[in-house]
Symmetry: C2
Subunit: 438 residues, 2 copies
């Protein structure tokens, strides 16, 4: 769709009638203008930041905590002010709905989450949640009715397992109901505490094809927008993740009496493995990442050669095939290191998160929407997981990133400027209108 | 002293009179024969192994435990059977004494310890303890009186800090009295529980020069005797030890969203450091060892790049200068790794154990004693710490190693054959007699 067709269609949708060429100049100028209220959005973000604020300046609003429930109450109030009809689904997700003009159309959905990691910030999830409510508020204020029903969704517990979006996607609840969360509650107890019904999670499930599109606005995590001075990230997709537990077995022995050439040192082998993971990742072209973040040595004494080291390996990429190719190279390195050091490696996969591609057409619409607003854009992968990734199995998705100062995330240092957030919300608004007009 | 002079002097000592050339042939043959009772020694070792035996077949007789106290009772009984006069010093060390013929001479001392590491074996310390008692028993049986007083000493708590020998050496008790031990008791409580007096530890101190010589028989730890088919290790000295806490500071960041080339990964830097330690140690000629046995990553999550890694570095050698030279090379590697990875290394020394050289003349006597018994010998360093190391500051010391099958130590697999132990005790006996004759 070129820009002219886009505006034409938009006018049809908003006016609820046929396009009238002679009015188009004036109407177009007016209708091009709908913009979110950036000040109101900044104020609501600042208010929410107070809920769960710690003495160290972090925001700790872990799912199912008192702060989380208080934050949810605040969000429900914002939704009502935006003239959305609020409900809680069986999974505890907060839904704000407004009907569209065409009853037969499936809803357009947008949203994110408001729970945080322990000691986190107030932008991850919040920008997309309050941004979506602000878009709905703006539409109500300027009197624009959509063809599609509009749903703003605040997924519960993203940070501790994407529980709300997994329930909407319809994952077997047995896989998460009994997990203990940072709140001290299990997911089951947590869902009950926020007004959901863990016995009827099937009611929260949406059928594939029952959502017209899902949009999520989010802060970038790790660049490149802020460092590059780019306004908007058009997300290509959310990376897949494979995690492995790597066990290196050597032979525990006296560190004083075992000569250097008679050791089977699991620590040495593990160290070479960590270095090899980095070398394999860096020597292979692409935007994949590979990380060893956890390590434990046994017996773990200053004067004992480690007999066993257990560590984690995580590989992420937009393509599962790339992850698997990297892993095979890492595995070959492990085998060689084992032979050279008299140790044995076991690499056990224990976690897989499938990559999710953003919809090509929605990416193009986000791109055009940003450019129409005079904003610069870059195509970026999302290295982190998001609720959108789950919804990608039911509907076409689009994600919009805004710069995070210092590319910080999951930390009290998280910060995006009010102008950057307002720009992101404006892109969200325009993209929504364009999707409604399709 | 050549062998002829040695035997001459021995005869004088034993016979308590002048050397009579015409009787020397027959007497020499008889007097060359005093041998320990290997069966009795093996039986007492086997009996002691039952005290503290766990269901897994290990021997757990940690200092100040019920098993330790039971073991001590058993040892006191053995001493009395060997016609030694038993006392407990203020530090809780067990002393078995017999006067010599020359009242003015300082005592010849021999001994070791009977406490074990948790889940250890029954040879480390035990062989030297019961071997010394067996030597005293043999002397009493064959009616050989020494010129010097004889003291068999069983140092308390070697494995958890060489407490007994440090008290004898006269170290400030403030450095160890409040340490918590594997028994759950502090050293202070432990000393009280075994009949010592923690308020009067000065009474256990011996003055420099007040001991004629100290001998310790011990199993080898880590080879090379058993692998090499060598009967007796003549210990050159006990290695010095320097320990460092190494802190690597990088920057904790999201493992999914931080590109490989923008990381300051403390885990990667630590891994390269571990490899560098090994490379430096192995590329430098010598018998030193360098070990990283402990490691901890922060925050230690599968999906977070480590912001900090803390690990230990231990270097051992007979020469402190060698340790320091190796450390400087390791430190230079750390600096280079820090620059290459955007991390910073801090290497803090926190422990020093001074090397202790065995007395040259005693080494020569041990060597000759072994060869006279038809035993093969090798000069070896002791990579592990021993009570003898503390006593080295008061008296000339000698250490005799016997082979440990599979070079195992500090484990239930510890095992030395009864024949190897008897041979070691015979060398101890001969060395003692030679020293007495000096």
């Amino acid at each position: 769709m070129d820009r002219r067709t886009f505006h034409h269609t938009l006018l049809v949708a908003i006016a609820g009638g046929p396009f009238v060429p002679e009015r188009s100049g004036a109407v177009l100028r007016r209708l091009q203008q709908p913009r979110v209220n950036g000040d109101r959005l900044a104020a609501s973000i600042a208010r929410l930041a107070q809920i769960g604020r710690t003495s160290e300046g972090a925001t700790s609003r872990v799912a199912y905590s008192e702060a989380d429930r208080e934050g949810r109450e605040y969000v429900i109030g914002l939704m009502r002010a935006a003239r959305l009809t609020v409900s809680i689904d069986a999974a505890g997700n907060i839904l704000g709905r407004r009907n569209g003009n065409t009853a037969s159309l499936p809803p357009l959905m947008m949203g994110s989450h408001i729970d945080t990691v322990p000691g986190g910030g107030n932008y991850d999830g919040v920008v997309g949640s309050l941004g979506a409510i602000e878009v709905a508020h703006t539409l109500a204020e300027v009197g624009i009715a959509l063809r599609h029903p509009l749903e703003v969704i605040i997924f519960q517990n993203e940070e501790n397992g994407k529980v709300g979006s997994r329930a909407v996607r319809g994952e077997d609840p047995a896989s998460y109901l009994d997990l203990l969360t940072h709140s001290g509650r299990t997911v089951r107890e947590g869902i009950r505490s926020i007004g959901g019904n863990p016995e009827r999670l099937g009611d929260a499930k949406r059928a594939a094809g029952s959502i017209a599109a899902f949009l999520e606005l989010h802060i970038e995590q790790g660049g490149p927008l802020d460092p590059g001075g780019i306004d908007i990230g058009v997300v290509e997709g959310i990376v897949g993740i494979r995690r492995f537990e790597v066990t290196v077995d050597g032979f525990a022995n006296h560190a004083g009496t075992t000569p250097m050439d008679q050791r089977r040192d699991a620590m040495l082998a593990a160290a070479r493995f960590v270095d090899a993971v980095n070398r394999v990742a860096r020597s292979t072209p692409g935007r994949h990442v590979a990380t060893v973040g956890q390590i434990r040595a046994e017996p773990g004494a200053v004067n004992v050669i480690a007999g066993r080291v257990v560590l984690t390996l995580e590989i992420r990429d937009l393509e599962l095939a790339t992850i698997d190719r990297l892993f095979e190279r890492v595995r070959a390195e492990a085998t060689a290191i084992g032979e050279a050091t008299g140790t044995r490696f076991a690499l056990e996969p224990y976690y897989l998160s499938m990559p999710a591609r953003c919809d090509q057409e929605i990416r193009a619409i986000i791109e055009r929407s940003a450019r129409a607003l005079g904003l610069s854009t870059a195509s970026v992968p999302s290295g982190a997981g998001h609720d959108a990734q789950e919804i990608a199995q039911l509907a076409p998705i689009g994600m919009i990133f805004v710069p995070s100062v210092g590319a910080s995330s999951h930390s009290p240092e998280e910060f995006s400027t009010p102008a950057a957030i307002a720009a992101g919300a404006d892109v969200l608004l325009r993209t929504l209108l364009a999707l409604d007009a399709r």
